[in-house]
Every structure is written in C-alpha cells, then in structure tokens.
Symmetry: D2
Subunit: 310 residues, 4 copies
C-alpha cells in the first residue's frame, strides 16, 4: 500500500511531523551528473513561506541540509536526502490541543487510524510536511527546464472573509513544453497521476483538466490541421492529454482547495474523553492556503511529469 | 511505471483491444473462500450495456468465461482470470479509419506513444476495455456488501443535444458504510486514490469530493458532538474524508465527463500521410457516455475501497 | 505485497490452476512494433515438455492462444495476454488426494495460507504454472537477441536413482552479451533480482553466482588491464556483476533444485481430518525436474534481464 | 524499478555515501504505538561494528539521531527517519582512489552506470550503507519478538589467510517461531524474498535454504504425523517453507560471501584515463566481512519476515 512515497522512477519519500525534530525527504531515481542550483531551491521555499497579511505568520526561514546523493553540487544518481529542522517549541504551546479534536482537521481520523497522534500542530498531517515536497519539486523543476518544460501556477479565485474566519479557492496550473506521446494507458494516464499527486496536497478537494466540458462534441472536439509540416490543433479543450497521453499542447488543470480549517471562531467539537466541548483555535493561521498551496501544486506537477520523462 | 494494473493488495490487470480476440482481466489478491454470485456480475455488465435510444447500439451480450482462481463457484485466493470474447467484425468495417486520426480520440496520441496503434474501433483506448473493470468491480461490490459498504451512482447532469452531436455530463457517487480510519497519509490518501481510479475511465476529466468548498471556514467546517455515546458530525462537507482517512461518514464525489468524441458531423483532421482531411464518423455511437460510465465509476470505486480494506 | 506478478517495467502476471480451465499470463510493458516469431515460442514450450523416459509422461501438446496486444504478428505496446487450455480430466482422477496432504508438496501450506486449495494435481502450486513463464520468456528471449544477449542453460548434476524414487540437481546458466552498467544499487541489484526470479521456480532451493568464493582475495579478485583500448578483465570470478551492476562480462550462476516430491514409494502423512495415513502417489511423474526446470530458468532470466534493459 | 527501497508493507529506504554527510534511512509502515528499546538498537549496531584483530579498525561509534515517527519513545505509525553522521575525513585521504578503479569493487561498474561516482571510500557501494539496515532491522527484531519470532545467525566457515590478504565465508541463519501459512505464491515466495534481501548485502554471492538437496526424494521428503493433536514433521529438509509458504518449522538458510576485495597486495587495474596501473590499497580493512555481514543478514531477515506479518 502506498504510504509516504510517490512516483516509481523518480520516487519521493517524505517524513517528519510538524513539531518533531525535522521535516525531510529522500528523492530517489534523480539522474546523475546534474548540477543543482541551490538558490532555486531557496526561491521555491520562499514562495511557499508566509508573506502577506492574513496568512500564517509563523516564520519559516527554513534551511535545507543536504545529507546524501550530491558531491560538489552535482548529483550522483544515488538517493538525495535532505532535512529541514523544525523550530524549538515550548512544550506547553500545543498542550491544550492534546485532548481535543479540531473540526475538519485530521485529528480524529488520525486517532482512529493509528490509535495515537502527534497532537503538536497537526503532526504529520500538518501543511508543514509540504516543505519536503517543495524542496524535491525544486530539483524536478530545474531538470524539466533542461527539457524545455515550464510550469506556471495562478490563483484564480480566493474570496474575501472577515477576520478570524477562513476561505478556500482555486489554483490553476499550466504546463508548457511537454512533448507529445508521454503517458500510459490505462491505469497510468498522465492526468490521473497528476490528479492523485495534486489531491495529496492538504486541503485539496478537486481536480479538473481541460475546458469546455459542457459544450456539445461539435464545439468541444479539438480538430486538427497540418500547417507548415506540423500538426496544429485548432483548439485545446483536451488540456493537452488524449487517452492519458500527452498531445504536445499545453497541459492545464484547476485544483480546488477547501477553506483553512483553523479559524478563530468558537466551534463545537469533542475531546478524547468523549465529551462535548467548545474550541477556539489560537495563534495566527492562514486565512487561505491557496497561495502557498499553489507552490506545492507546482512541485507535485514537476515531480509527476519528470517521473514520466525518466 | 504503472501501466495496465491498478491496486496493490487487490490488483486488477486488464488486457484486450476493442476489436481484437478478447477483453479480459486478472484480479489478484481477492480473498479465498468467497462464494461468487455470477448473476450479480451479469447485472453489472447489463447495466453497462447500451440500452436507450441515443446511446451506442452495438449489442454487447457479453458472456464471461472464468479461467482461474475459482473452484465450484468459490474463490481460491489465487488470481481470478476472465475473458469476454469480442464479436467478429468484417475486416473492412474500420478500414477507413486506418489512416485517419479522429479528433479528440486517442488515435494520434497512441500513434505518437507507440509508433503503432490498433485502429479498429479505438483498440486499447476504446471504452470497451471497461468491460473488464466492471466484471472485477462486480466481485469487489459483492465482497464490500459483506462489510456493510454500498456504492450508489447517479447521473446529475447530461443535457440535450441535436441528433448526430454529443454531450458530456457528471456522475455523482455516494459510498455508504465505510468504517472510520481507512486511508493512508500522505501519498496514499483515499480520495487521491479514488480520483486516480475514476480519472482512469475514458472521457473522465474531473473529480471533486465533499461540498461547500466556497463557503467560509465557519460554515464549511464539520463540527462534532457526542450523541448517545457516538460521534455525530453536524455536517459532512468533508465528504467522509479528513487528512486522506475516512471519518465513517458517507464518502461522496462528482466525476465530470467530456462529450463523446465520435459525432456524425464533418470535422477537420489529418491523416498519417500528414494531409488535411475531413472526417464524418459513421456508425451509431453513444450521444453521452455518462450513464454507462456511471457503472464503471461504481466498479472503480469498489475496487479502490476494497484495496484499502484488505 | 507481490503475488502473481513479477517485474516492473516488463511485468508478467500469471494465472491458472493445473487442472482448472487454463494456464495463462499477461505480459505488460513489452515494446511495441516487435515482430514475434511464434515458432520460437513453440520451441521453448517443447523444450519444457516431457520427452525422455523417466520424466513426466503426461502429454502437454499445449497450444497457445494469443488474446491481445498483437496485431498481424506485431506487438502493439499494450498488454499481451495468452492462454493455454488444460486437458480435460476425469473428476475422479485426483479425488483420492482431496483429503490428503502429500509430503514436501505445498498441499498443507496452501491449506494453511488460504483455508482452501485446489487439490487437483497441485492446483496453483503445480509446475504446470511455469507454462505461462516459458511463453512470456520466449518473447523476452527474442527481444534480447536483438540486443546481442543470449542465455544458455545446462544441467550440471542430476544423479541416478532407482525406479519410483526421485532426485534433485543443479542448473547452470550463462548470460552472454549483457552490456556494462545495467543494475541498480542497493535493493535493485541485478543478481538479487535474478535470484528472486529463479527461486520462484517450483523446487528451486539455491542460487549462487560467480565462482572461486573460497579463494583468498588475492586469487579471487578480478584484476583488469586495457587491451587495444578496451577493458579486459583477467578473470571473471565476479560472475559479471559488481555492486549489483553488470561489468559486461558473462553473468553466470548455479541454481539448486530439490528432488521431485512425488515418489511411488509409501510415505507417512496426515489427512484433513487430522489422521495419520500412508500415501503412495500414483501416476507417472518426473524423476527429476532439472531438465524441464532449466527451460524455466532461461525464461525467468530473460524476463529479468529484459526488465533492466527497458 | 526498485532502487534504494525494500519491502512494500514495511518499507525501508536507505540513503547516504560512505564519506558523505550521513548515512540514514526511512522506515515506513511500522505499526503505531510500539515502544522502542533504543538500547537494543545500540546493541545491534555494536554487533556490526569492528571488534576483532583482523577486521576493519575504523572506529564506528555511531550515534543514531531519530528525526521523525516517534513521540516519547513510541511509534506514531508515520515514517521513522534516522541518520548517523559520518566522521569528518581529510579531503586527501581518498584522493589517490579518485582516478583508479579497484579490482572487484564496484568502482568501475558505478562509473559505467552513472557516469560519476563518489570515490571516497566506496561512496554508496560501501558496506557502511548497511548501518541504516541494521538500525531498521533492530526495530523489526523487537517487533518480531512480540510475535514469538527469533532470528539467530552463525558464521559456519571463514578460513585462514596470511596478513594483507582476505577471505570469504558463510553465514547460517535460523528463524524460529514463524507461524505456518505466511508467504505468497507464485512471485512472492518467502524464500525468494529472503534470498533477494540477503543477496542485496554487499559481497553476498549465494543463498540456499533447507538441506539434503542431493538426497533421493524418499529420504529428502518431510513426512508428517499427528502427535497429540498437532502436526509433527518427521524432518525439516524443506527449511520451513513449502511452495513459498511457511510450514511453521524453523526457516534456515546459508548465505555465501566473497572475500573482501580490499587487500594490501599489489593488483593490476586501470585508471579513468584508460591506463594500466598497479594499485596497493592502504588502510586497515576487514580480512573477512562475514562476522559483520552476519548482523546485516539478521537485519534483512527481520525486515523481510516482518513485511509478511503486516
């Protein structure tokens, strides 16, 4: 059963709890002799970090320590392991959440799954786990650039909300430069793998690729013509994928995210003694995860596409 | 790389081209000593078969031959292999499609992927491949019933279209009775696996689970109370899944399907000589795949959920 | 958990019980546009069939039916499914073994694993399952020949035994023409995969590659020299593999097989009522499986090596 | 393709080069709520460390840092990551090996596989990688003990050799207490997985389970009787496995190791300029790896058996 690993040729395993010793990952299958631009990794991490008013204020000036797989800045073809240390926390900081299950968090479901959970800041289910994905994704992004592939993400909807409440939104992603003929029928379709990768991001609830799905076939279908000896699609409602295989046109999709479950408004819930309680979550949290999630979307797409290229 | 196999504990491999000798599958990991209701398999196959005016008229009175894994109607725990023979076709029936790539079919992408394709009726990319999924799914459905799990599908939107054209639509699926605590962080989340399985169905473009995603967190969050010693969720916007793990509430999602690409209206396209041609697809085809796809959705969900139970 | 599938890029799934409807397999990941020599498949099947006095006399004039993945004798890149029908048996033929566990067969262990077993001729545990491996292996052998790789097997030891008894032996295998640099550290070493594949053959108990293992390092080590601009190893005790990666020298190993457990001599055993009984196995059986197993060794090696090439 | 990960339910990924920053691993799938005895981990690490005259003198007073998956000494069910820092080395220490390929090491094969290699002390191919296996194995050993399973290893042959030279040997392993009915046909046989796991240990060349393979079947076969209501095998030549499934008897096998390739005797080899050179390896190295390898054998067996139990 798949647990904390994604990919088969390029394989990322992540580990770490939000308030444990460290968050990290092992990226296996990355090609050898690739010169890594560590500055690019920092840029992606910064893009994921909290910046604007209304988003999580917890400072994450994370520093990556590279443990293996790289010699003199160049990949060896062996597993690339990396860690980011978590900041020290006072033991009492999260003590009050030890016995309470926050609504629409994974507190209770983890408890039911494992009979135990790291209650400190969400533990393994925290969005902080995505730090490892962004680091690995930043390597994949660099490699894909050498293949002419670029990945853009935009926030297409977010909405307003009063202070203390939260809101969801959508991330739109466009992948340019993927060559035709990538992907596998029938259970390895590239859009299905993209969906699985994107829906593994905390708070993600939906994935839809292409456009015009409510049109009649006569308007929806992507007709073709030869132009100057090259295939030209007259439209790209297919979103760059037909039969699970790339057409060479842009791949694009929309991912839908739910509102941040942490709100500073009293909510009804239960505790681990089976009592009804009211909870008001303290601390400063993201009003919306969408901007930060968009960086993780880019990472997951990069890892997924690169997995097909290898 | 995943190709024609899905699942790891319960593992389905399908094979067969639309107009080849047979469509079939191998279902591995199915528990031993389970008495199969073959009538139920026929019912699911019939539900998938064309029935109403406006849908594919090709008769599919398919008969399943069971090749292994079953003795006296009872499973042995060994691989269950099955085949359905394809009807004989006149060699000329699809001859005119040998050299032309139909718009928004996988004709060209398969050609680019493999350098060859079975042009007869879509070959491996045909919806006919899903016969194997429905047979395997019918076994999973029976097994899940013994666990108290039921899966319902509805067509929530289809639309009207003039004759010769086609239309897409949505399938809504509801899974009742899945116990709490099923699923795996962080890359084995149950909703991500469901999405991947459903998006592997031909023509499927989108997956979204839960509801109320545009609400503020204060309205979206599923608050909880204890009632008569049991956990009661005051709402189920989470769609039965938190952190990729089931809550015990109903799992529900919507899958979006594109319009059938086969339309009886002239379209511009190209042939394998790189020439511009106009194509008008003959024969009778589904105006919408949604009703038939809904049966396949149920099968894929059954296989996916059962994979987590084992 | 791996069950009835081997390989990841080239993936063989086998199915079928000895006296069920059919034995068969699905070979996924085989490259497209490869012209199959069906005569070669028959040759390998014949090599595996019983021929000499003292071996199983059961006639296996098996005919392969190809179900998918091939059009006009050329592979499509889609799963290649095939079946071989089992001969019809009188229901009574194996009735007396329904309730008895034969010594050193898998009768009892299957019963303990599954709570049920197909008692007819060994069911899934029968050597007949290897028919599917030999068919798939014959395709891999053909493909490898186009890469300059050849696989030879010899019986290096068999021994004499009086009539009614049985004997084990060894199969020696030599693979010529594998290029240097194939294999993966640290858990995908090519010799470990070969061992696993060969030890999956019924009755196989041992695997050892290379030679001179009891020599001191000074005599064992394969020293090197450049000769005419090419690397020349002064010896090949390493058996063509260093660090799990090929050196370009011949890969060779020895596989050890136990004596056929079916003997026509009375043995003590138990039945499914927990009673002590004496059993004398009837019918004509292989006195040694070694010759026939050697063909299966070649198949498994071909599938394993090809998996690394893809 | 399998690279640096082994197991599917219990899944170990190792990383690290011999003289890089650290050696480590991620153990995924380990059950939650298990109290770890860290002292036992140290004991296994000490057993693997160099102790006797004639073995590697490099001091490995390794300290394990646990990065995730454990809270208050108890497992969370999430990935358990751990690292051991490598000692600092002077850059010049291994400089002379930068351009030379040591005979019967993986220097050249890694170079051919990756086009680059970490020449410092063998890099990824060094026996030092097994530190990660022993740490993970120590957790598996503890868990198996709660199931009544114990694993013993002995060195059954080593031999004498003059100073500066090296020698191989055998490790015999006996697993007691594994219940009957564990294992999977036909490509998940427990002995095949054990072989693959053991042959992944550096320098391991052979695996053979059971005994009496050259006996006639009449003497080899393990006959059975009921005694006091329990199944009693009259012998255990099968080594505790029939048809790839455990019988409940002791599992035992012998693993064969080649002589340590590092010897202090001049050898002919080549360098990366394609020149013939003579090399004399300096430093103190294991005369035989067998004793230390035996600890790694125990670890790999523990991980493999536990994988079947989950």
């Amino acid at each position: 059963m798949i647990l904390n690993t994604i990919g088969d040729r390029l394989r990322l395993t992540t580990f770490g709890e939000s308030h444990g010793v460290a968050i990290g990952g092992v990226l296996d299958g990355f090609p050898s002799r690739f010169k890594i631009d560590f500055e690019r990794v920092s840029e992606e991490l910064s893009a994921r970090a909290p910046q604007m008013e209304g988003e999580t204020m917890r400072r994450e000036d994370d520093e990556v320590e590279w443990l293996s797989g790289i010699m003199d800045g160049v990949t060896l073809g062996t597993p690339i392991a990396f860690v980011v240390r978590n900041k020290k926390h006072e033991p009492g900081d999260y003590k009050e959440l030890e016995h309470v299950y926050r609504p629409s968090h994974a507190d209770l479901s983890y408890q039911q799954r494992y009979g135990i959970r790291d209650y400190r800041g969400g533990g393994r289910a925290s969005g902080r786990e995505t730090v490892a994905r962004v680091i690995a994704g930043a390597l994949a992004l660099q490699w894909l650039e050498t293949q002419g592939v670029s990945i853009k993400v935009d926030i297409v909807e977010a909405g307003e909300v009063s202070h203390g409440d939260s809101i969801g939104g959508k991330v739109r992603c466009l992948v340019n430069g993927v060559k035709a003929g990538i992907g596998n029928p029938v259970f390895g379709k590239i859009h299905a793998e993209l969906a699985s990768a994107v829906l593994s991001i905390p708070a993600c609830h939906g994935f839809e690729y292409g456009s015009g799905l409510s049109l009649p076939g006569s308007e929806y279908n992507d007709q073709m013509r030869m132009e100057n000896g090259r295939i030209k699609y007259l439209s790209n409602n297919s979103g760059g994928v037909l039969g699970g295989i790339t057409t060479g046109e842009d791949i694009y999709f929309t991912a839908v995210f739910k509102p941040t479950p942490s709100i500073q408004i009293p909510q009804q819930t239960i505790n681990d003694k089976g009592e009804n309680v009211t909870i008001t979550i303290k601390g400063r949290h993201d009003r919306s995860v969408v901007r930060r999630a968009s960086v993780v979307v880019r990472s997951m797409v990069a890892l997924t596409i690169m997995n097909y290229y290898l």
